[in-house]
């Protein structure tokens, strides 16, 4: 069984700038595949090449095993949901959904039946006569998707379609999109810069940076076992410590942080070279406030609380390890245990070395989402 979409060695250059460099991946039929990356990483260029709007400088694109590298967009079995949706304001909802069918030369009752079926499927059965301007943001979204799905494409491409929605509706649409995809069984390729969208909806996520895929895997894999410093910072939240690896007396790996704290490192960090600075990551949710002294093998560090960031179940503490300028985020469980903590307090935080991750090199600047 061939893959719904297969991309081999895809490359695109704009002048001297390589926007997409030698990317290869396969998407199985019926899967939800996301490409996650910061703005400017080349993900839109990649998508436009798959849709056919850009001609690649190298590589091939196959749909269901058929090479479509030189086929123009209007004859590819793939449809794109645009970032701004691009619904046709000069037509009503029915005509928008029927547009692709009419371009195929379909006529009469067949068109009406397919369009009405599709409108029902996306939950807007009686909106055919409405004008585009009469629809709400979420409804426009669904019509834009219906307009593509009615053509039964091999792959549906989505270019950050939730970007323009407000936060509440975006949360809702995430779930709805996932359900819709599961129902229709069409292969979705979704690009976004929002890691939460990618994680919630996808079967597989590819993290893209500077024109290449850094890592491809399930959301769980990316979260628990990132293979690069970039993925560790981009997927989920992470605290970054610059450490200098060394060995303790028993020869086990250890890391010196800020010249004053010595951390126990996981065995996975054994390959790091002693004396060469590297990055260590510990997720906020993996950090424990005031760990009991009866847990041996824990890393502990005295910190000063700079701020309590209350956000319901997502509350955090912003703390500064003593004697440093770094800011560390620690999850603050709302169990009542830690309600006494105030800004300015000195507390201990700790974590199990087994869940910390290390990457060689100091990675330059930390990734900044802004």
């Amino acid at each position: 069984m061939p893959f719904a979409l297969s991309v081999h060695g895809l490359t695109k250059k704009f002048g001297n700038f390589t926007a997409v460099e030698n990317i290869s991946f396969d998407v199985e039929d019926g899967k939800f595949f996301s490409i996650l990356g910061p703005s400017g990483c080349g993900k839109t260029t990649l998508l436009r090449m798959i849709a056919g709007f850009y001609r690649q400088d190298g590589g091939t694109i196959l749909f269901n095993g058929e090479d479509m590298s030189s086929v123009p967009p209007n004859r590819r079995p793939v449809n794109l949901v645009f970032q701004n949706l691009a619904l046709f304001p000069m037509m009503n909802v029915f005509e928008n959904v029927a547009f692709g069918l009419r371009r195929r030369g379909e006529k009469g009752s067949g068109v009406a039946r397919k369009v009405n079926d599709m409108l029902e499927r996306v939950g807007l059965p009686d909106s055919g006569e409405k004008q585009i301007s009469q629809l709400s943001g979420g409804q426009k979204q669904r019509i834009a998707i219906a307009r593509c799905l009615v053509l039964d494409p091999a792959v549906l491409l989505l270019d950050e379609p939730l970007g323009a929605l407000d936060a509440k509706l975006r949360e809702h649409m995430k779930v709805e999109l996932k359900t819709l995809q599961a129902n229709v069984g069409t292969t979705f390729v979704y690009i976004t810069h929002d890691q939460s969208e990618a994680m919630v909806m996808s079967d597989t996520v590819a993290v893209m940076n500077k024109g290449t895929f850094e890592q491809t895997g399930s959301p769980q894999e990316l979260y628990h076992r990132p293979r690069s410093s970039f993925v560790a910072q981009f997927v989920g939240n992470n605290n970054r410590f610059l450490i200098v690896p060394s060995r303790d007396d028993g020869g086990a790996p250890a890391g010196l942080y800020a010249g004053r704290f010595s951390f126990i490192l996981d065995d996975a960090c054994r390959s790091l070279q002693d004396g060469i600075p590297c990055e260590m990551f510990v997720r906020p949710e993996a950090m424990v406030i005031e760990p009991g002294s009866d847990t041996p093998g824990f890393n502990r560090m005295p910190v000063q609380v700079r701020a309590v960031l209350f956000d319901g179940g997502n509350s955090r503490l912003l703390v500064i390890p003593e004697g440093t300028e770094d800011e560390i985020v620690v999850m603050l469980p709302q169990t009542g245990l830690y309600d006494h903590i105030r800004a300015g307090d000195r507390i201990m935080v700790g974590w199990d070395p087994g869940i910390s991750l290390c990457f060689a090199g100091n990675g330059g600047k930390p990734y900044d989402e802004r």
Binding site: A51, G52, F53, P72, P73, N74, R75, N79, L80, F82, Q83, N84, A86, L87, F88, P89, M90, M91, F99, G100, R103, R104, R147, C148, L151
Partner: protein, 284 residues
């Protein structure tokens, strides 16, 4: 209270010139022309003879129909040429090149219409540039008169009115989101289908307002049909000119003037009805 008085003065200040302009240059002359068209140079009261003369003399109403027909054709041709030109300026050329192209379209209009028409005459006449070039390379065995026929006149009218169609269409086409074109392409539309279903419906208000301007300009133009069409291609404005200036028959000229006004209003009304636009939307 004082604020209200000042507001009224301000309103008057801006309104008065407009009112005077409308009254003195539009309403009064037309009222007088209307009166003239229903009277005769000979003593006597109300008469319909000026309008009767139009229908009884074939040369008059034939010129009238010709003028209307050719004006529609010119408007249509200008539209057909202006659409791709506007598309190139707004969507294909880069931003700065687009501005430069607009200037290129505008520049010829810095020269008066008379000079531009003489430019055509220099190119097209029997001893003109084109004839000399083609006879010297052996394409023509002898010079051909290219002036004073319908085709040349229509070409001249298309050329003189192009700007007035390109500018409004560029305006609306600029507002067309590129992603709509891409979306149509992505959904399987061919290039002609994209023009038919997306670009032209979107540009309709600009096309109609440009069409009205061009149609009225062409219908009422005198210089270009006269100089490029000559005696072989009579235009209705020439009939009005002849009546008033040559025959000194103001009454007949006035009647012709009103018939022309009626004609342009009627055709524009039909065009608006056919395209489903309304005047308020179009002039916005």
């Amino acid at each position: 209270m004082s604020g209200r008085i000042r507001l009224n003065w301000g309103f008057l200040f801006f309104f008065l010139p407009v009112a005077l302009w409308l009254l003195l240059l539009i309403v009064l002359p037309h009222a007088e022309l209307l009166r003239l068209s229903f009277t005769s140079s000979r003593p006597g009261g109300f008469t319909l003879q000026n309008y009767m003369a139009f229908f009884s003399e074939p040369i008059y109403w034939l010129t009238f129909v010709r003028t209307a027909f050719y004006s529609v054709i010119v408007t249509f041709l200008v539209m057909v040429i202006a659409l791709p030109v506007a598309f190139y300026i707004t969507k294909v050329a880069r931003v700065r090149a687009g501005g430069f192209l607009m200037v290129l379209i505008l520049v010829p209009f810095w020269v008066s219409e008379l000079i531009r028409v003489y430019g055509w005459i220099i190119l097209l006449r029997e001893s003109g540039v084109i004839n000399r070039l083609f006879t010297s390379i052996g394409l023509f065995s002898r010079p051909i008169e290219m002036l004073y026929n319908d085709v040349t006149m229509i070409m001249g009218l298309v050329y003189t009115s192009m700007l007035f169609m390109v500018v409004p269409i560029v305006g609306v086409m600029d507002a067309l989101d590129d992603s709509l074109i891409e979306a149509a392409y992505d959904l399987g539309a061919s290039k002609t289908a994209i023009w038919r279903t997306i670009i032209i419906p979107h540009c309709m208000p600009g096309m109609v307002s440009g069409g009205i301007i061009v149609f009225m300009l062409v219908l009422g133009s005198y210089l270009t049909p006269n100089l490029m069409g000559g005696k072989n291609s009579l235009w209705f404005t020439e009939q009005i000119y002849n009546q008033i200036i040559l025959y000194f028959n103001w009454n007949q000229g006035a009647a012709f003037g009103f018939l022309l006004l009626l004609l342009s209003s009627l055709i524009i009304w039909i065009a608006l009805k056919v395209t489903g636009q309304n005047l308020g939307e179009v002039v916005k």
